[in-house]
């Protein structure tokens, strides 16, 4: 079994216009930037992006690459913009050129987990008494109120991991784990960009975070520098 493909371009070849795509990453960690650039090159349009943040902080390697190129139709996020500058996404959003669905972060990732785990929906206390409850079923369990939230799944998950073996087993580095292992479970096709590909058998089975069953394609990513402000 060999899930390794030779280029990011090949890895995203079947990502068609109108796809719903999950993108891993939090802050500057764990962003599948090689795959994002490959999508930019391919030019896939009308993407619904499920991603914590709509990009702009690392303007050349995060979702802003696709936003600026007008490839994003809608963003489903928990922390879409920045308090201290106006991102390309915010600019387009304020002009009504891109849609936004904003979700509390715990609900965002739990909906993704549900999408991967065959759970149709769940009751969470998060958002009770706020605009988040609009249009949702509210229900009491043991005297406490909860909202019904539904599973979230995608056509593709583009994730960033540290090492992959050829069967697609993945490890991560430090806080670069974030949304990546959860999104890997909730897409029809999961594509992992990694720092290093190793032979099957080289990863300690106790340390595998994403078992290969969730991964369809593996591609070695390019190196990039992150600068902190």
């Amino acid at each position: 079994m060999d899930k390794v493909v030779s280029s990011a371009q090949e890895a995203v070849a079947d990502v068609t216009d109108g796809s719903t795509i999950m993108f891993g990453g939090f802050g500057v960690s764990g962003i599948p930037f090689t795959l994002i650039r490959a999508l930019r090159h391919k030019g896939t349009k009308n993407i619904t992006a499920i991603i914590n943040n709509a990009g702009g902080r690392l303007a050349n390697i995060d979702l802003a690459v696709l936003v600026k190129n007008r490839q994003i139709k809608k963003v489903i996020a928990s922390y879409p913009v920045y308090p201290w500058f106006v991102s390309p996404f915010e600019e387009q959003y304020l002009k009504g050129e891109v849609e936004l669905e904003i979700i509390p972060q715990g609900t965002f990732v739990e909906r993704i987990r549900a999408g991967g785990a065959g759970i149709a929906g769940f009751y969470t206390p998060t958002g009770v008494g706020t605009v988040v409850e609009n249009g949702k079923e509210k229900r009491s369990f043991n005297g406490k109120e909860y909202l019904l939230e539904l599973a979230l799944a995608a056509d593709f998950a583009l994730i960033k991991a540290h090492k992959a073996d050829k069967m697609g087993n993945l490890t991560y580095r430090l806080t670069a784990r974030n949304f990546n292992p959860v999104m890997a479970t909730a897409a029809r096709i999961t594509i992992a960009e990694v720092d290093e590909v190793v032979e099957t058998g080289e990863l300690d089975p106790e340390t595998v975070i994403t078992p290969g069953i969730y991964v369809n394609r593996v591609v070695k990513g390019e190196k990039y520098e992150v600068r902190f402000e």
Binding site: S29, S78, I102, Q105, V109, P125, T126, P181, V226, F228
Partner: protein, 220 residues
């Protein structure tokens, strides 16, 4: 109006609320500074919703690793006994009630402890992040903020006018001017900043403050 404490001193005062053995989540902005003011003999374990428990101070320039950050995307250092996990597990921990204290920023807090900290009305978009999950589940929610807006309007109000993060969720408010507890009987003024009077605090606070029996000057 007196300016009271600097932002660093607000963080320093908030740090005093954290007890040995507490598991604590710090919000983006001022709250992240709290981690710099934990005394050597107090062991506080910091949680961040991007998937880490047990980090230390902000990293120096030569220690920075883009894969090791807090929820504010600041580079951090590891302490012995740290653990990494994914975001779903990070929020399971939060919603499951395992975080003892969250220190968060705010735009407004109401006298009933309602919190508005994710969107100001003047903008058409905001960031919820992990705040709504934290406020419904963490045992104690401490708000650190400037007592008023830049224009001098109260941030401690009868009813929040900004979109809510949660209802009746705030336990303690620490500002540049005062420490105020949210109680079933309303807001209780517990401490005032050095050289600030209770009357001065009340004059920039919309709801009526009750005065604590042991009202005193903040110790830092």
């Amino acid at each position: 109006m007196k300016s009271g404490l600097s932002r660093e001193l607000i963080a320093m005062r908030a740090a005093k609320e954290l007890k040995d053995g507490d598991y604590v989540n710090l919000g983006i902005g001022l709250p992240t500074q709290v981690s710099s003011f934990i005394p050597e003999d107090v062991e506080v374990i910091f949680h961040s919703e991007n998937g880490i428990l047990g980090f230390g101070r902000i990293a120096d320039e030569n220690e920075r690793d883009p894969d090791l950050i807090n929820a504010g995307a600041q580079p951090i250092t590891l302490k012995p006994g740290a653990a990494f996990f994914n975001s779903a597990d990070a929020f399971a921990m939060i919603r499951g009630g395992y975080i003892d204290v969250a220190v968060l920023g705010a735009f407004q807090v109401s006298e009933k402890g309602d919190l508005a900290n994710w969107m100001i009305l003047e903008k058409k978009v905001g960031n919820i992040g992990g705040s709504m999950d934290l406020v419904v589940a963490v045992k104690e929610v401490i708000i650190t903020m400037e007592h008023t807006t830049r224009k001098g309007a109260p941030r401690i109000v009868k009813e929040c006018t900004y979109p809510l993060t949660g209802r009746g969720v705030v336990n303690l408010i620490i500002t540049n001017l005062a420490v105020i507890a949210v109680t079933p009987e309303g807001l209780l003024l517990k401490e005032v900043a050095p050289s600030v009077t209770p009357q001065e605090v009340q004059s920039v606070t919309e709801p009526k403050l009750r005065l604590a029996a042991d009202l005193h000057e903040m110790e830092l």
